[in-house]
Subunit: 313 residues, 2 copies
C-alpha cells in the first residue's frame, strides 16, 4: 500500500463505515463502498452526513457504490466496518477485494476481529483501529455525526509501521484525527473499559449514557465492571492509566443523551455484538486467571436480551 | 390471640392480602380488609378470585372493607400484605388496629420487614411468613390465583410457639396449606434464593420465568446469583439444603409463563421492592463478610429500573 492514490474499499457501510468513508471521499480519495440493505437508496440519493463539524453530502455521481464485492476493483486498503455479528461473512465479502499487498484495517468493536481476519487472510496484512466517535445511522443513506471522531489504529502484529503511518495520513488529510498505537491490544482493552459498561447496560436497560451516569446506582454499576475489565487488562500485561475509570466517566459527561451502538441495535431489532464485546474479553480474562463475575453476569444478560429481541431487521 | 373467633385485619389488599384474606373469610373467619386504590370497586362489587382450585367470590354483603384504619375494629391478628415500598406507612396503618396482645404477621417479600415492625410495635408480637404462591391482581377486585399457595410462618424471635400454631390453623382450616418454621431467618433466606433472581432478572429484562430458564445463558445468570445468596445464608449460620438451587429451577419449570411480582410492578409502573429483596440481603451478606458481586450488580440494575420506570401508578 505505497501508491499515491490507493484504492480504498469500505466493507459494511453503516454509521462508522459510511462516515469515515465519506470523509475520505470528500477529500479526494478513491473510495468504493460495499452496501447491503441501503444500496438502492444510496445509489439513488447519495450519502448525507449531518455532522457537528458541518453537514456534507456525496451525491450519486460523487460516490462509488456496490452491492457485490465481485463487481468492485481489487483494493489497496480494505476498511472493515461490518458489525462483528457478520464476521462469518469475511471470506465472501473481503476475499474478492484482495491482492498480495492489500492491507486490511478493521474498525469493528471488541476483541477477536483481527484474529479471525488473520486466520483467513494472513496476519501480516491486518491492522486494527478504534473509532472514538458518537455517530448514528439515522435512516438509509443518512448518517448523524454527533461528536468526536478520533481513530486510533495499530498493526495486529508488531509496533508502529510505515504502513500504519500512511493509513493514518489518509485519515488526517481528510479532517479525521488519527493516531498510531504502540500496542493495538492496549488500545482495544482501553476502549473496552467504555464499551463494555455503556454498550452493555445501555442495551440491557435501554438507557442513554446520560441516564446511566446521573445517579449513584448507575455510577456504581458502571465503575464496578470497569474495575474488572481494567484488572483483566493488567493481568494480560497491559498497563492501564491510574485514572482511566474517572477519565471514561468524565468523557461521557460531554456526550449528552447518547445512545450506544448496542442500545440502537436493540431498539432496531438488530443482532447485538455479544461475543466481540463481552464473550471474547471474558474468555481472555478467565484464561489470564482473573475473576470477573460482573462481566460474566453482563455477558449473560446481553445474551438474553439478544435472544429475546423482537426480530425487526 | 387465643379466642375462638379472632378478628383478623388485612392491611394491604393486593394480590396476596386479597387472596389469603378471601380464603379466611370464605371459611367463616372474621376478616376486615383495609384497601386504598381498590376500595370503591371492592365495596361495590366484592372480591372475585379466579383460582386454579375453583373460582369463588365474596359479594359486597359478605366482605368487610375499609379505607381508613380508624374505622376498623381493633384486631387479634394483623396480616401485613403491603408492598415493602409502603413500609413507611406501618405506623398510621397498623397502629390504630392494635391492642396489648395483637399479633402481627407480615407476609411481605424480603428482609427487614419484621425488624421495622418490631421497632415500632415491639418484637414480641411479630411473626413473619412467606407465601409460596403464583398470584396476580388482574384488575381492581379481581385476583388470579394461578398455582401453589403454601404459607410458611414463624416467630420473629424464638422458635415455634402455640401462637404460631394457632395462626397456622386459621389458614389450614381455610384450605391454605400452612407450615410453622423452626427458624424464620432460614425461611426468609430460602425464599430469597428464588426471589432475588426471578424478581430481579424478571424485572430488569421484562421476561417471564419460562423465558429465563429455557436457555443456557439464563440458567447461568440465575444460578450464578443463587450461589451467592446461598453462600451468604450459610455465612449467617443457616444450613441450606445441598440441592436447593436445583430445587428452585425444577419448581420454576412447573410455573409456565409466570410474571414475578416485580416484573408486574415494573409493567404497571409501580415502585419496585428494591431494598427488602436486594438492598437488605446485600447489606447482611456484606456484614457477614461474604462477597456477592452479582447480587450487588443486580441491586444497582434494579435501582436503575426503578428510577427510570414510567410512573403510571
Amino acid at each position: 500500500m505505497s501508491i499515491a492514490r490507493p484504492k480504498i474499499a469500505v466493507v459494511g457501510t453503516g454509521a462508522v463505515g459510511g462516515y469515515y468513508g465519506a470523509r475520505l471521499a470528500q477529500h479526494g480519495h478513491d473510495v468504493h463502498f460495499l452496501l447491503r440493505s441501503d444500496y438502492e437508496t444510496v445509489k439513488r440519493r447519495g450519502l448525507n452526513v449531518r455532522s457537528c463539524h458541518g453537514d456534507f453530502r456525496l451525491s450519486p455521481d460523487q460516490i462509488q457504490v456496490y452491492n457485490d464485492p465481485h463487481k468492485m476493483p481489487v483494493a489497496d486498503l480494505v476498511l472493515v466496518t461490518l458489525k462483528s455479528t457478520a464476521n462469518d461473512q469475511f471470506q465472501p465479502l473481503i476475499g474478492p477485494l484482495l491482492k498480495e499487498d492489500t492491507a486490511i484495517l478493521t474498525i469493528q468493536n471488541g476483541l477477536g476481529n483481527e484474529d479471525r481476519l488473520a486466520e483467513l487472510f494472513g496476519a501480516s496484512r491486518i491492522l486494527g483501529g478504534m473509532a472514538f466517535v458518537c455517530i448514528n445511522r439515522e435512516a438509509p443513506g443518512v448518517i448523524h455525526h454527533i461528536d468526536h471522531g478520533l481513530i486510533r489504529l495499530g498493526e495486529f502484529k508488531g509496533g508502529p509501521s510505515d504502513r500504519a503511518n500512511r493509513i493514518a495520513n489518509l485519515f488526517s488529510s481528510s479532517t479525521v484525527q488519527c493516531e498510531v498505537l504502540e500496542d493495538l491490544r492496549f488500545g482495544r482493552w482501553s476502549k473496552l473499559i467504555w464499551n463494555i459498561p455503556f454498550n452493555g447496560f445501555g442495551a440491557v436497560l435501554d438507557l442513554t449514557t446520560d441516564r446511566l451516569i446521573d445517579n449513584e446506582a448507575g455510577i456504581e454499576l458502571l465503575t464496578g465492571i470497569m474495575r474488572e475489565v481494567a484488572e483483566a487488562a493488567e493481568a494480560l500485561g497491559l498497563k492501564m492509566p491510574a485514572d482511566i475509570i474517572d477519565q471514561q466517566i468524565r468523557r461521557t459527561r460531554t456526550m449528552g443523551a447518547y445512545r450506544s451502538s448496542m442500545q440502537v441495535d436493540r431498539q432496531e431489532g438488530r443482532a447485538l455484538e455479544v461475543e466481540s464485546i463481552f464473550g471474547e474479553p471474558l474468555r481472555q480474562a478467565n484464561r489470564a486467571g482473573v475473576k470477573t463475575p460482573k462481566l460474566e453476569m453482563l455477558y449473560r444478560l446481553v445474551q438474553l436480551v439478544d435472544r429475546h429481541r423482537p426480530k425487526l431487521e
